[in-house]
Symmetry: C2
Subunit: 280 residues, 2 copies
Amino acid sequence: MEQVSAVRSHGGTQGVYTHHSRVTGTPMTFAVFVPDHAPGERLPVLWYLSGLTCTHANVMEKGEYRAACAEHKVIFIAPDTSPRGEDVPNVDEYDLGQGAGFYVDATQAPWSANFRMRSYIENELPDLIAREFPAADMTRQGITGHSMGGHGALTIALRNPGRFRSVSAFAPIASTLNCPWGEKALSGYLGPDRDGWREYVACALIEDGGRLPRLLVDQGTADPFLAEQLRTDLLQNACDAAGMTATIRLQEGYDHSYFFISTFMAEHVVWHAASLHGAP
Amino acid sequence: MEQVSAVRSHGGTQGVYTHHSRVTGTPMTFAVFVPDHAPGERLPVLWYLSGLTCTHANVMEKGEYRAACAEHKVIFIAPDTSPRGEDVPNVDEYDLGQGAGFYVDATQAPWSANFRMRSYIENELPDLIAREFPAADMTRQGITGHSMGGHGALTIALRNPGRFRSVSAFAPIASTLNCPWGEKALSGYLGPDRDGWREYVACALIEDGGRLPRLLVDQGTADPFLAEQLRTDLLQNACDAAGMTATIRLQEGYDHSYFFISTFMAEHVVWHAASLHGAP
């Protein structure tokens, strides 16, 4: 792992790091904010998975998480959304290929060689964090994300019961089985057999018995993607049908941008911190 | 004036606007955040002048001012740093020409036709704000800024006694007479007669009797521009020699970026709000 930059901000260190990923076969870049802490003190970790087109940098610059993370002593990790590079397959579209990994392990050519963001986020990067950031207490993790990354947070948490004490999302895709973004991406990465998609579909994982300990979702009512792509109603229905407690809030007039995310970021950090600093 | 965008954020509206400027002879773009307020309620105004290379967008995206402005009911205005456009003079340098207006009225060709940021910020834009934003109470104004814009805030406030109740700056240039950035820009815009520069030199205006009601400055100790360009020591000396009260804080380990600015932005907003909401 190589440190690209480390800057003092909000009483902590905002770093950017790169490493060669074994699972994607490419260099991968990610951002980590570590609040100031006592020598030997260990802090819980909050993962943030970004949405389509984003890198680690969007939330790092616009997410407004550092003040709350510093106050509540939470390490904030922002990975990239896909492998990248000239040798990595791509198409000239914003919702497939580079910047659009959808947090799946692709099975279809040409994607399968590099697009293994599930394994990267579930295994390789947490192992790296545990090795390289001694302050990170990996027994206390929360996860959140935005849009495609909100769906990523939901699916990763649903497939890994017990790993995350708290799960939240900003304007997540509810079901990749039921929206054009999901149908396009999963067709590309996983092929036409939709039964094989279910482990990458938040609502399907809930229908199939997956449970989350705590779930908080914020969704703007002026989000242009709400009706066709995000379908918060499907997530609410799945939680209701499963008897799973969830706090799903419609935020009047907010859109899909970081102007929305940054508004509710501190609340999410505080909400996660309550679980992460409480009893297990 | 035309609205480019208006987005709900942090319990207010973050807008971007454009208009044809009479004084620069070009279209000019600026950002205004207006917190939610009661019908007929009027809110004080905080100006933020940006630094070299910036537009209105840098602080709008990275400045983290909206939460504090919404809580303390302060309108936040972020102008551009120069006229821009294909027909506007420019050089291929970051510290002269477009993006580097230095808040002066240029007297030298080719700059004098368009580079009149002093008149734009002191007169034209406030008049436009007063006309177009009925919630803006122009009897209650504060001003701040970063680097070149911090110097702009100081000089504009020093030249206009009584206009601003509170003045602050992030890593301001202290004296354009005593740094390479200032010498280059003022030589270009104003010509070689350095006596004519003094109305555009913060320390000189203080030496010449200018006073500020309240001054707060934050400066990072790891700022790479501190020793050669910013010279906070000169500002401290000028304030001391003039017997002018100033709170000039050195912030250990912070640099010149928005990671620094955003860390202290809320404190500045609260500090301005105390003056802006108090008795005149």
